[in-house]
Protein backbone atom coordinates (compact mmCIF):
# COMPACT_ATOMS: atom_id res chain seq x y z
CA UNK A 1 0.00 0.00 0.00
CA UNK A 2 2.72 2.41 1.06
CA UNK A 3 4.69 1.49 -2.01
CA UNK A 4 1.65 2.25 -4.18
CA UNK A 5 1.06 5.67 -2.60
CA UNK A 6 4.75 6.44 -2.80
CA UNK A 7 4.80 5.35 -6.42
CA UNK A 8 1.83 7.61 -7.20
CA UNK A 9 3.53 10.52 -5.46
CA UNK A 10 6.68 9.99 -7.47
CA UNK A 11 4.68 9.96 -10.70
CA UNK A 12 2.76 13.11 -9.66
CA UNK A 13 6.01 14.75 -8.62
CA UNK A 14 7.52 13.94 -11.98
CA UNK A 15 4.51 15.46 -13.76
CA UNK A 16 4.73 18.60 -11.65
CA UNK A 17 8.46 18.87 -12.07
CA UNK A 18 8.06 18.91 -15.85
CA UNK A 19 8.15 22.33 -17.49
CA UNK A 20 4.75 23.19 -18.85
CA UNK A 21 5.16 23.47 -22.58
CA UNK A 22 1.39 23.61 -23.06
CA UNK A 23 1.19 26.81 -21.05
CA UNK A 24 3.85 28.42 -23.22
CA UNK A 25 1.91 27.50 -26.31
CA UNK A 26 -1.14 29.17 -24.85
CA UNK A 27 0.87 32.28 -24.05
CA UNK A 28 2.01 32.90 -27.62
CA UNK A 29 -1.52 32.69 -29.00
CA UNK A 30 -2.90 36.13 -29.85
CA UNK A 31 -5.76 37.35 -27.70
CA UNK A 32 -9.09 36.06 -28.98
CA UNK A 33 -10.77 39.49 -29.10
CA UNK A 34 -8.97 40.52 -32.29
CA UNK A 35 -6.35 39.57 -34.86
CA UNK A 36 -7.84 36.09 -35.05
CA UNK A 37 -10.55 36.18 -37.63
CA UNK A 38 -12.09 32.84 -38.43
CA UNK A 39 -13.43 32.51 -41.99
CA UNK A 40 -15.05 35.92 -42.45
CA UNK A 41 -18.72 36.18 -43.08
CA UNK A 42 -18.36 39.01 -45.53
CA UNK A 43 -15.82 41.19 -47.29
CA UNK A 44 -16.49 44.11 -49.62
CA UNK A 45 -14.10 46.17 -51.74
CA UNK A 46 -15.37 49.24 -53.62
CA UNK A 47 -13.51 51.59 -55.97
CA UNK A 48 -14.49 55.25 -55.58
CA UNK A 49 -14.21 58.12 -58.05
CA UNK A 50 -11.64 60.68 -56.85
CA UNK A 51 -12.76 64.33 -56.50
CA UNK A 52 -11.28 65.13 -59.95
CA UNK A 53 -13.61 62.53 -61.49
CA UNK A 54 -10.84 60.05 -62.31
CA UNK A 55 -11.29 56.44 -61.18
CA UNK A 56 -8.28 54.15 -60.84
CA UNK A 57 -8.10 50.38 -60.67
CA UNK A 58 -8.07 47.87 -57.83
CA UNK A 59 -7.35 44.23 -58.65
CA UNK A 60 -8.84 41.87 -56.08
CA UNK A 61 -7.22 38.43 -56.01
CA UNK A 62 -9.12 35.88 -53.92
CA UNK A 63 -7.78 32.37 -54.25
CA UNK A 64 -7.87 31.63 -57.97
CA UNK A 65 -10.45 34.35 -58.59
CA UNK A 66 -9.57 37.81 -59.87
CA UNK A 67 -11.86 40.85 -59.91
CA UNK A 68 -10.72 43.99 -61.75
CA UNK A 69 -12.54 47.04 -60.39
CA UNK A 70 -12.08 50.12 -62.57
CA UNK A 71 -15.43 51.91 -62.73
CA UNK A 72 -16.92 54.23 -60.07
CA UNK A 73 -18.50 52.16 -57.26
CA UNK A 74 -17.57 48.83 -58.87
CA UNK A 75 -17.39 46.30 -56.02
CA UNK A 76 -16.08 42.84 -55.24
CA UNK A 77 -17.96 41.00 -52.54
CA UNK A 78 -17.56 37.66 -50.82
CA UNK A 79 -20.07 36.17 -48.44
CA UNK A 80 -20.16 32.65 -47.06
CA UNK A 81 -17.58 31.46 -49.58
CA UNK A 82 -19.43 32.93 -52.58
CA UNK A 83 -17.80 35.82 -54.46
CA UNK A 84 -19.31 38.24 -56.96
CA UNK A 85 -18.55 41.45 -58.84
CA UNK A 86 -21.28 43.99 -58.37
CA UNK A 87 -22.10 47.68 -58.44
CA UNK A 88 -22.92 49.76 -55.36
CA UNK A 89 -24.46 53.21 -55.11
CA UNK A 90 -22.87 56.29 -53.57
CA UNK A 91 -25.51 56.10 -50.80
CA UNK A 92 -24.67 52.45 -50.00
CA UNK A 93 -20.99 53.34 -49.73
CA UNK A 94 -21.76 56.31 -47.44
CA UNK A 95 -23.87 54.01 -45.27
CA UNK A 96 -21.25 51.28 -44.87
CA UNK A 97 -18.08 53.39 -44.87
CA UNK A 98 -19.27 56.76 -43.54
CA UNK A 99 -17.10 56.81 -40.40
CA UNK A 100 -13.92 55.75 -42.22
CA UNK A 101 -14.51 58.24 -45.05
CA UNK A 102 -15.13 61.03 -42.56
CA UNK A 103 -11.80 60.28 -40.85
CA UNK A 104 -9.88 60.31 -44.17
CA UNK A 105 -7.27 63.11 -43.97
CA UNK A 106 -7.33 65.81 -46.67
CA UNK A 107 -5.13 64.78 -49.59
CA UNK A 108 -1.79 66.61 -49.64
CA UNK A 109 -1.66 69.86 -51.61
CA UNK A 110 0.88 72.27 -53.12
CA UNK A 111 0.95 76.09 -53.19
CA UNK A 112 3.26 78.43 -55.11
CA UNK A 113 4.48 81.89 -54.11
CA UNK A 114 6.50 84.18 -56.43
CA UNK A 115 9.34 86.62 -55.67
CA UNK A 116 10.76 89.95 -56.83
CA UNK A 117 14.01 89.55 -58.84
CA UNK A 118 17.08 88.67 -56.76
CA UNK A 119 15.29 89.14 -53.43
CA UNK A 120 13.36 87.14 -50.85
CA UNK A 121 10.47 89.65 -51.15
CA UNK A 122 7.12 88.31 -52.34
CA UNK A 123 5.51 89.89 -55.42
CA UNK A 124 2.40 91.95 -54.66
CA UNK A 125 0.14 89.26 -56.14
CA UNK A 126 1.75 86.58 -53.96
CA UNK A 127 1.44 88.79 -50.86
CA UNK A 128 -2.32 88.79 -51.43
CA UNK A 129 -2.37 85.06 -52.04
CA UNK A 130 -0.29 84.34 -48.93
CA UNK A 131 -3.26 85.15 -46.69
CA UNK A 132 -5.44 82.51 -48.36
CA UNK A 133 -2.62 79.96 -48.28
CA UNK A 134 -2.01 80.56 -44.57
CA UNK A 135 -5.73 80.18 -43.90
CA UNK A 136 -5.78 76.87 -45.80
CA UNK A 137 -2.73 75.61 -43.90
CA UNK A 138 -4.25 76.59 -40.56
CA UNK A 139 -7.22 74.34 -41.23
CA UNK A 140 -5.05 71.23 -41.35
CA UNK A 141 -4.53 69.39 -38.07
CA UNK A 142 -0.79 68.81 -37.44
CA UNK A 143 0.43 69.68 -40.94
CA UNK A 144 3.71 68.26 -42.23
CA UNK A 145 5.15 70.94 -44.49
CA UNK A 146 7.99 71.00 -47.02
CA UNK A 147 9.03 74.46 -48.26
CA UNK A 148 11.24 74.42 -51.38
CA UNK A 149 12.84 77.61 -52.74
CA UNK A 150 13.75 78.16 -56.40
CA UNK A 151 15.34 80.90 -58.56
CA UNK A 152 15.48 81.85 -62.23
CA UNK A 153 18.72 81.38 -64.18
CA UNK A 154 20.04 84.94 -63.74
CA UNK A 155 23.26 84.90 -61.69
CA UNK A 156 25.70 82.27 -60.51
CA UNK A 157 24.63 78.76 -59.49
CA UNK A 158 26.02 79.20 -55.94
CA UNK A 159 24.34 82.59 -55.47
CA UNK A 160 21.07 81.10 -56.59
CA UNK A 161 21.41 78.12 -54.24
CA UNK A 162 21.77 80.60 -51.39
CA UNK A 163 18.92 82.83 -52.59
CA UNK A 164 16.55 79.88 -52.99
CA UNK A 165 17.33 78.73 -49.42
CA UNK A 166 16.68 82.29 -48.17
CA UNK A 167 13.32 82.36 -49.94
CA UNK A 168 12.36 79.05 -48.34
CA UNK A 169 13.40 80.29 -44.89
CA UNK A 170 11.43 83.52 -45.39
CA UNK A 171 8.28 81.55 -46.16
CA UNK A 172 8.93 79.23 -43.22
CA UNK A 173 8.98 82.39 -41.08
CA UNK A 174 5.45 83.31 -42.27
CA UNK A 175 4.23 79.83 -41.32
CA UNK A 176 5.84 79.91 -37.88
CA UNK A 177 4.25 83.34 -37.31
CA UNK A 178 0.76 81.87 -37.64
CA UNK A 179 1.60 79.20 -35.10
CA UNK A 180 2.77 76.19 -37.10
CA UNK A 181 5.57 74.50 -35.08
CA UNK A 182 8.96 75.00 -36.76
CA UNK A 183 9.73 71.31 -36.18
CA UNK A 184 6.95 70.39 -38.62
CA UNK A 185 8.40 72.56 -41.41
CA UNK A 186 11.33 71.38 -43.51
CA UNK A 187 13.04 73.71 -45.97
CA UNK A 188 15.25 73.17 -49.00
CA UNK A 189 16.81 75.43 -51.62
CA UNK A 190 17.01 74.02 -55.13
CA UNK A 191 18.58 77.10 -56.75
CA UNK A 192 18.07 77.07 -60.51
CA UNK A 193 18.20 73.28 -60.65
CA UNK A 194 14.45 72.69 -60.95
CA UNK A 195 12.97 75.31 -63.28
CA UNK A 196 9.19 75.51 -63.55
CA UNK A 197 9.62 77.04 -67.02
CA UNK A 198 12.74 75.70 -68.73
CA UNK A 199 14.97 78.54 -70.00
CA UNK A 200 18.53 79.15 -71.16
CA UNK A 201 21.05 80.57 -68.65
CA UNK A 202 20.67 84.20 -67.51
CA UNK A 203 16.99 84.47 -68.37
CA UNK A 204 14.79 86.63 -66.13
CA UNK A 205 11.72 84.39 -65.79
CA UNK A 206 9.28 85.47 -63.01
CA UNK A 207 7.59 82.05 -62.87
CA UNK A 208 10.88 80.41 -61.89
CA UNK A 209 11.39 82.76 -58.90
CA UNK A 210 9.17 80.83 -56.57
CA UNK A 211 8.70 78.88 -53.39
CA UNK A 212 6.72 75.67 -53.39
CA UNK A 213 4.81 74.76 -50.22
CA UNK A 214 3.94 71.07 -50.01
CA UNK A 215 1.61 70.21 -47.17
CA UNK A 216 0.30 66.83 -46.04
Amino acid sequence: MFALVFGALVVLGAIYAQPAPLEETVLVLPSPDEHVVQPPLEETVVVLPSPDGHTGTVVVQRGGERHVLNRPFAASRTSGGQSEMTQLSDAEVRQSFGAALKALPAPPSTFLLYFVTATDELTDASKDELKQILAALKERPVPDIMVIGHTDTVGELETNDLLSAQRAERVKGFLVEIGIPAAQIQTAGRGERELLVPTADNIDEPRNRRVEINVR
Binding site: E34, H35, V60, Q61, A99, L104, P105, P108
Partner: protein, 145 residues
Protein backbone atom coordinates in the same frame (compact mmCIF):
# COMPACT_ATOMS: atom_id res chain seq x y z
CA UNK B 1 9.21 46.30 -20.69
CA UNK B 2 9.32 49.48 -18.69
CA UNK B 3 12.31 50.67 -20.69
CA UNK B 4 10.54 49.87 -23.94
CA UNK B 5 7.62 51.96 -22.79
CA UNK B 6 9.91 54.81 -21.78
CA UNK B 7 11.68 54.68 -25.12
CA UNK B 8 8.31 54.67 -26.93
CA UNK B 9 7.11 57.63 -24.90
CA UNK B 10 10.33 59.43 -25.70
CA UNK B 11 9.87 58.73 -29.42
CA UNK B 12 6.38 60.18 -29.33
CA UNK B 13 7.54 63.21 -27.36
CA UNK B 14 10.38 63.83 -29.79
CA UNK B 15 7.99 64.00 -32.75
CA UNK B 16 9.34 62.88 -36.11
CA UNK B 17 12.18 60.42 -35.71
CA UNK B 18 13.77 57.90 -38.04
CA UNK B 19 11.31 55.07 -38.55
CA UNK B 20 8.27 57.32 -38.68
CA UNK B 21 6.37 56.64 -41.87
CA UNK B 22 3.22 58.66 -41.26
CA UNK B 23 1.27 60.69 -38.78
CA UNK B 24 -2.19 60.43 -37.24
CA UNK B 25 -4.22 63.36 -38.58
CA UNK B 26 -7.63 62.43 -37.20
CA UNK B 27 -8.77 60.39 -34.19
CA UNK B 28 -12.18 60.16 -32.56
CA UNK B 29 -13.42 57.77 -29.88
CA UNK B 30 -11.08 55.01 -28.71
CA UNK B 31 -8.06 54.64 -30.99
CA UNK B 32 -4.86 52.72 -30.21
CA UNK B 33 -1.51 52.06 -31.80
CA UNK B 34 -0.08 48.61 -31.17
CA UNK B 35 3.68 48.64 -31.33
CA UNK B 36 6.08 45.86 -30.31
CA UNK B 37 3.53 44.12 -28.14
CA UNK B 38 2.48 47.32 -26.37
CA UNK B 39 -0.70 49.32 -26.85
CA UNK B 40 -0.74 53.10 -26.70
CA UNK B 41 -3.70 55.47 -26.89
CA UNK B 42 -3.38 57.21 -30.26
CA UNK B 43 -3.88 60.94 -30.54
CA UNK B 44 -3.75 63.44 -33.40
CA UNK B 45 -0.13 64.27 -34.23
CA UNK B 46 1.32 60.92 -33.14
CA UNK B 47 3.80 59.38 -35.61
CA UNK B 48 3.05 55.98 -37.13
CA UNK B 49 5.83 53.45 -37.78
CA UNK B 50 6.30 50.36 -39.91
CA UNK B 51 4.83 47.26 -38.17
CA UNK B 52 2.36 49.34 -36.14
CA UNK B 53 -1.28 48.30 -35.99
CA UNK B 54 -4.05 50.86 -35.83
CA UNK B 55 -6.89 49.59 -33.62
CA UNK B 56 -10.25 51.29 -33.02
CA UNK B 57 -13.03 50.58 -30.56
CA UNK B 58 -16.76 50.46 -31.36
CA UNK B 59 -16.89 54.29 -31.20
CA UNK B 60 -13.52 54.92 -32.86
CA UNK B 61 -12.21 56.18 -36.19
CA UNK B 62 -8.80 57.45 -37.26
CA UNK B 63 -6.94 58.81 -40.29
CA UNK B 64 -3.23 58.65 -41.15
CA UNK B 65 -1.21 60.49 -43.81
CA UNK B 66 1.95 58.69 -44.95
CA UNK B 67 5.24 60.17 -46.17
CA UNK B 68 4.45 59.33 -49.82
CA UNK B 69 1.14 61.25 -49.48
CA UNK B 70 -0.99 58.10 -49.24
CA UNK B 71 -3.91 58.62 -46.88
CA UNK B 72 -5.64 55.78 -45.00
CA UNK B 73 -8.46 55.81 -42.50
CA UNK B 74 -10.36 53.24 -40.45
CA UNK B 75 -13.88 53.23 -39.05
CA UNK B 76 -15.17 51.60 -35.83
CA UNK B 77 -14.05 48.17 -34.51
CA UNK B 78 -11.16 47.94 -36.95
CA UNK B 79 -7.67 46.45 -36.92
CA UNK B 80 -5.28 47.62 -39.63
CA UNK B 81 -1.68 46.38 -39.66
CA UNK B 82 0.99 48.44 -41.45
CA UNK B 83 3.07 45.39 -42.33
CA UNK B 84 5.74 46.89 -44.56
CA UNK B 85 6.40 50.46 -45.60
CA UNK B 86 9.34 52.07 -47.38
CA UNK B 87 9.47 55.21 -49.53
CA UNK B 88 12.36 57.04 -51.17
CA UNK B 89 11.35 60.69 -51.51
CA UNK B 90 13.94 61.25 -54.25
CA UNK B 91 13.14 58.33 -56.58
CA UNK B 92 9.56 57.71 -55.33
CA UNK B 93 10.39 54.00 -55.18
CA UNK B 94 8.78 52.15 -52.33
CA UNK B 95 6.41 49.49 -51.14
CA UNK B 96 3.41 49.52 -48.87
CA UNK B 97 1.76 46.37 -47.48
CA UNK B 98 -1.22 46.87 -45.21
CA UNK B 99 -3.62 44.28 -43.83
CA UNK B 100 -7.20 44.89 -42.71
CA UNK B 101 -8.00 42.16 -40.16
CA UNK B 102 -11.49 43.49 -39.49
CA UNK B 103 -13.60 46.63 -39.76
CA UNK B 104 -13.61 49.31 -42.45
CA UNK B 105 -10.79 50.98 -44.35
CA UNK B 106 -10.63 53.89 -46.81
CA UNK B 107 -7.51 54.50 -48.93
CA UNK B 108 -6.23 57.14 -51.34
CA UNK B 109 -3.00 55.89 -52.83
CA UNK B 110 0.04 58.17 -52.97
CA UNK B 111 3.25 58.91 -54.85
CA UNK B 112 4.79 55.44 -54.79
CA UNK B 113 1.77 53.97 -56.59
CA UNK B 114 1.94 56.77 -59.14
CA UNK B 115 5.59 55.88 -59.70
CA UNK B 116 5.20 52.08 -59.79
CA UNK B 117 1.69 50.62 -59.94
CA UNK B 118 2.57 47.47 -57.97
CA UNK B 119 4.03 49.30 -54.97
CA UNK B 120 0.94 49.03 -52.76
CA UNK B 121 -0.92 45.92 -51.62
CA UNK B 122 -3.78 45.65 -49.17
CA UNK B 123 -4.74 42.27 -47.68
CA UNK B 124 -7.91 41.05 -46.06
CA UNK B 125 -8.35 37.60 -44.47
CA UNK B 126 -9.49 36.20 -47.84
CA UNK B 127 -8.06 38.47 -50.54
CA UNK B 128 -5.10 40.52 -51.70
CA UNK B 129 -5.62 43.79 -53.54
CA UNK B 130 -3.30 45.48 -56.00
CA UNK B 131 -3.81 49.22 -56.32
CA UNK B 132 -3.44 51.26 -59.51
CA UNK B 133 -3.69 54.86 -58.37
CA UNK B 134 -7.08 55.33 -56.82
CA UNK B 135 -9.44 55.83 -53.94
CA UNK B 136 -11.19 52.76 -52.54
CA UNK B 137 -12.83 51.28 -49.46
CA UNK B 138 -12.68 47.82 -47.88
CA UNK B 139 -14.87 46.14 -45.28
CA UNK B 140 -14.30 42.91 -43.36
CA UNK B 141 -17.19 41.67 -41.23
CA UNK B 142 -16.56 38.90 -38.72
CA UNK B 143 -18.96 36.01 -38.32
CA UNK B 144 -21.61 36.71 -35.72
CA UNK B 145 -21.07 40.48 -35.64
Amino acid sequence: MRWTLLVCLFCFAAGAVAGDVGRIKAATGSVFLERQGGRLPATVGMPVQESDSLVTGADGSAGVTFSDSSVLSVGPSSVLAIEHYAFDSTTHNGHFDASLKKGTLAVISGKMVKHSPDAMRVRTPSAIMGVRGTEFVVKVTEPGS
